[in-house]
């Protein structure tokens, strides 16, 4: 055997590295950019997940690799580079600012106008807060009340560890891993989200909200939500918040699954106000979300959403009306301004007998934005006496924006009753004139008219949300006219 030289050693090391493949340090707070199997494993390990969960993620990852990004939506954007994203980053424990004076005054102004309390403002902007903040004690009280009723409300990572049976049974049952490109991606790399279980016959005494979630740490860009309402239970769930989120993550691909068992009712409300990019359409969040609910017999799922943020939105909260006599509802307001693009709507799949669905969608476009409603109402051959009512109204401000409607109606049963109507209009000059004459300035008048236009949907929001959402609409459309 020859002499072992330095060159040989070098060579050896090179091959060695190759042999072991890419190495990920799971202790680090932020993972290196890129996505491969080892990253998926590392996320799973970081979350201390059991083996079945890791396998489930890997399965999703394999499916994702074989898929291509969908292009059918009526939006145009620079495709994200999936190998240029870090898929896990621990929420930073260090506050961003030491005092509220350091926060961007523009942001604070928005907070003030939305009527958010000072403490909450601090929290939202990432200012270090004192121990004696109300919501913490409130949260603890809430937690007790919920526990007494047997309601489980916790981060999904905790649920995977604590309630594996429930998670195993329902995770991916409504949105399977292979459902679509972004759902597959989410299934592989989701970092956290909420889990909620309402036991049989329990009426959840309060609006569950991410505001008061016990583990408030950053939700991450790949959120996974699973809500299970057992027989004859009721829950109202609020997601998001009206305050503008200055999030640095460009791509958000969340998955929400709702399961309403026999006689249960789930009300899911969303207010989305991610960073929409600046006035010239630079930057902004891509929001590609899959939301779907499954209704068993006599169950009801109601989606309410107010979408004002994100540069690109691609979202279709849907209901599968599997059980007889089940009900699906969808109420939506989508506002786009500047260069925002939204392609949003719903799918109502009627499978059971005597199923009913209602769709009310209000689109408001201003600036250079494009706003599309895309919906599907499908009545299966066995869905006797299905009933659907859809209404899609669009409001246009200025002639640089666009409003589009793409409703799909597929009916295979003769007893179905379907009504669909859509209108497009603008704010009448006479309406504005009327307001001006009575001393209401144009900007205020527009806010008034827009609020009236959106009333049907705003009414469906829980009260405190509705007040904020109303103000939010006003702010979103600021400067869009005149």
């Amino acid at each position: 055997m020859g002499k072992f030289t330095e060159d040989d050693l070098k060579k050896d090391l090179e091959t060695k590295e190759y042999e072991y493949g890419f190495y990920t340090d799971i202790e680090s707070e932020t993972f290196p950019i890129g996505l491969d199997e080892s990253i998926v494993r590392a996320i799973s390990k970081k979350k201390e997940e059991p083996e079945w969960m890791t396998q489930w993620r890997l399965e999703a990852f394999k499916i994702w690799q074989s898929m291509t990004e969908p292009e059918w939506a009526n939006v145009h954007y620079q495709k994200p580079d999936f190998q240029n994203i870090s898929y896990y980053s621990a929420p930073s424990k260090k506050p961003k600012y030491d005092s509220i004076d350091q926060v961007d005054p523009e942001l604070l102004d928005t907070f003030r106008r939305l009527g958010i309390s000072l403490d909450e403002q601090k929290k939202l902007a990432g200012v270090a807060v004192d121990i004696v903040i109300d919501s913490v004690s409130v949260a603890t009280t809430f937690k007790d009340t919920l526990a007494k009723k047997g309601i489980i409300f916790c981060p999904i990572s905790e649920a995977i560890r604590e309630y594996p049976d429930l998670v195993k049974q329902y995770l991916g049952s409504v949105v399977p891993q292979k459902d679509n490109y972004y759902a597959a991606l989410n299934s592989a790399v989701f970092s956290d989200g909420s889990f909620c279980y309402i036991p049989k016959g329990v009426r959840c005494p309060m609006e569950l909200s991410t505001y008061f979630r016990i583990n408030q740490a950053g939700t991450g860009q790949f959120e996974r939500t699973l809500v299970i309402a057992d027989q004859d239970s009721y829950v109202s769930y609020l997601e998001g918040c009206t305050a503008p989120s200055r999030d640095e993550n460009q791509l958000h691909a969340a998955v929400v699954e709702l399961i309403a068992l026999d006689g249960a009712e789930i009300k899911y409300s969303t207010v989305q106000n991610w960073f929409p990019g600046d006035k010239n359409g630079k930057g902004g969040v891509y929001n590609f979300v899959t939301k779907r609910g499954l209704c068993e017999t006599r169950a009801k799922i109601s989606w309410t959403q107010v979408e004002t943020g994100s540069a690109v939105t691609w979202k279709y909260p849907s209901c599968i009306l599997k059980g007889d006599d089940s009900i699906g509802e969808f109420y939506s307001i989508a506002v786009t301004n500047n260069y925002q693009q939204a392609d949003t709507g719903t799918k109502m799949i009627h499978i059971g007998k005597n199923t009913r669905s209602t769709i009310i969608s209000k689109g408001i476009s201003a600036g250079h934005s494009q706003n599309s409603y895309r919906g599907l109402v499908k009545i299966h051959a066995r869905a006797q006496n299905a009933r659907n009512f859809s209404q899609c109204d669009s409001l246009l401000m200025g002639n640089l924006c666009g409003a589009h409607t793409f409703p799909y109606i597929e009916v295979e049963n003769k007893t179905a009753k379907i009504e669909h109507e859509a209108t497009t209009s603008k704010i009448g000059e006479d309406q504005i004139f009327y307001c001006n004459q009575r001393g209401i300035e144009t900007e205020k008048a527009i806010a008034l008219i827009v609020n009236g236009f959106s009333k049907e949907v705003l009414n469906k929001l829980p009260m405190e949300f509705a007040v904020e959402a109303q103000k939010l609409l006003e702010i979103s459309l600021e400067g869009s006219v005149g």
Binding site: G402, T405, V411, E412, A416, I418, E421, A422, T424, S425
Partner: protein, 437 residues
């Protein structure tokens, strides 16, 4: 060999044989290239999501019949509006039948496309209008490449045509597996008025596939009233693409009555290039068995102050399927617009299916656009009311369905035609509608 390749390779021979001069030759060569690039539409394409041509496009289809066929007047008499004096342009298996036709060159041209394409006299019109509005891809390109016959109608300025023009295509079925490519060119000059009735009729039970393309140019203040009657044999399929270009103050209405055929696909497209143009599209679909009718409409609003109305009614029985895919596209210049779209459907049988997709794409703010779509049943209360007054159930249903379709029928401006369609509807519903219109 696949059908597509077969068609492409047969093009050279056809082109030689037609020998039409450089202008048309260039158009055809370009078209076959486009067809080669785009091919036949598949269900993957959004516009063909609900209609599959797969079963129809068999490899033994041929474009031209090998032998000439003739028909006797008494065999086809019933397809003419015989109680009405009309101009007639009649084709049998794609060939012009001089014996059945009544054409004219007096003050206007109601004649053949083949002569218009070859004679110098028509060169200017062909240059300006032929193949100018139909987009050149897929089936349209195929038609452009091979179409050698069809109607050519030219109405000069201020001419009000004294009687309706009938365009009839008969298929004898002497040869099976024909894919015919009729092509119509209709130019209506300033302030002129014309009524046209188009019908495709198969005379046997042999399968036939027709890929028709019609281009209509409606110039300033002109008025065109167009009726399409589709009541064909159960083995006949029709893909009918119509493109209408409208100038200012013009009015064009197209009524489509789809009562028969195996597969019927209507592509009806309006392009409004001038202000104050008005487009009307109406249709009644009444089908049964395994029939399939697909209405694909587009109104492209380019100029301001225009109007468009769409009203489509459908009644579907047995295993029939209906598709309505309507689109209103509003450019940002097309302000002060009024666009309306309505699609109502009734399913009679449990196996029948309807897919409806009314779309709006709007880039202008000062517009009034709306669409409505309903799917439902006959009103049980109304039915009960009639039965309580001694009208039997079948009759009562027939009456209600008749009433359902009536507001489309109402706008038919030729009384004889209205009567004829009335009779077809009554026959289809198996009832005697006792009031005369």
């Amino acid at each position: 060999m696949e059908l597509k390749e077969k068609f492409i390779s047969s093009f050279l021979a056809v082109d030689d044989y037609l020998n039409e001069g450089s202008l048309v030759h260039d158009i055809r060569s370009e078209a076959i290239k486009n067809f080669e690039a785009t091919g036949f539409p598949t269900k993957k394409s959004e516009a063909w999501k609900y209609t599959s041509l797969k079963a129809l496009l068999r490899d033994d289809l041929s474009i031209f019949p090998k032998q000439e066929a003739t028909v006797e007047f008494r065999d086809v008499r019933k397809y003419f509006l015989h109680d009405l004096d009309t101009y007639k342009i009649v084709f049998v298996d794609g060939q012009y039948s001089a014996f059945l036709s009544t054409t004219t060159h007096e003050g206007m041209d109601v004649c053949l496309l083949s002569s218009a394409l070859t004679k110098d006299k028509y060169k200017a019109v062909i240059e300006n209008y032929f193949n100018q509005v139909a987009p050149q891809h897929g089936l349209n390109a195929l038609n452009t490449a091979f179409a050698k016959e069809g109607a050519y109608i030219y109405i000069p300025k201020h001419k009000e045509v004294d009687k309706p023009i009938e365009i009839l295509y008969f298929y004898t079925g002497a040869e099976s597996a024909l894919m015919l490519q009729p092509r119509n060119l209709i130019v209506v000059e300033e302030n002129a008025q014309v009524q046209i009735i188009e019908r495709h009729q198969s005379l046997s039970e042999h399968a036939v596939l027709t890929n028709a393309v019609t281009e209509i140019f409606v110039n300033q203040r002109a008025q065109v009233d167009y009726y399409k009657i589709q009541n064909d044999q159960a083995q006949a399929s029709l893909i009918d693409s119509t493109y209408v270009k409208q100038e200012r103050d013009s009015v064009c209405s197209v009524h489509t009555f789809s009562f028969g055929g195996q597969l019927t696909r209507n592509n009806l497209n309006f392009y409004q290039h001038g202000e104050h143009a008005m487009s009307i599209m109406k249709g009644i679909t009444l089908i049964e068995g395994k029939q399939h009718v697909d209405h694909n409409t587009l109104v492209h609003h380019i100029a301001p102050n225009c109007e468009s109305h769409q009203d489509y009614k459908g009644v579907y029985d047995d295993r029939s399927t209906g598709v309505f895919n309507g689109k209103i596209f509003v450019e940002k210049e097309a302000q002060k617009l009024n666009a309306f779209q309505q699609n109502n459907n009734i399913l009679i049988s449990d196996k029948a299916t309807i897919n409806s997709k009314p779309q709006l794409e709007i880039f202008a703010d000062d517009v009034k656009c709306s669409h409505g779509c309903t799917i439902g049943q006959l009103d049980e209360d109304a039915l009960f009311y009639m039965r309580a007054r001694g009208i039997n159930e079948k009759e009562a249903r027939g009456l209600l369905m008749y009433a359902f379709a009536n507001n489309v029928l109402e706008s038919v401006k030729i009384p004889e035609l209205k009567k004829r369609i009335n009779r077809i509807i009554a026959l289809k519903m198996g009832v005697k509608i006792g009031f005369d219109l």
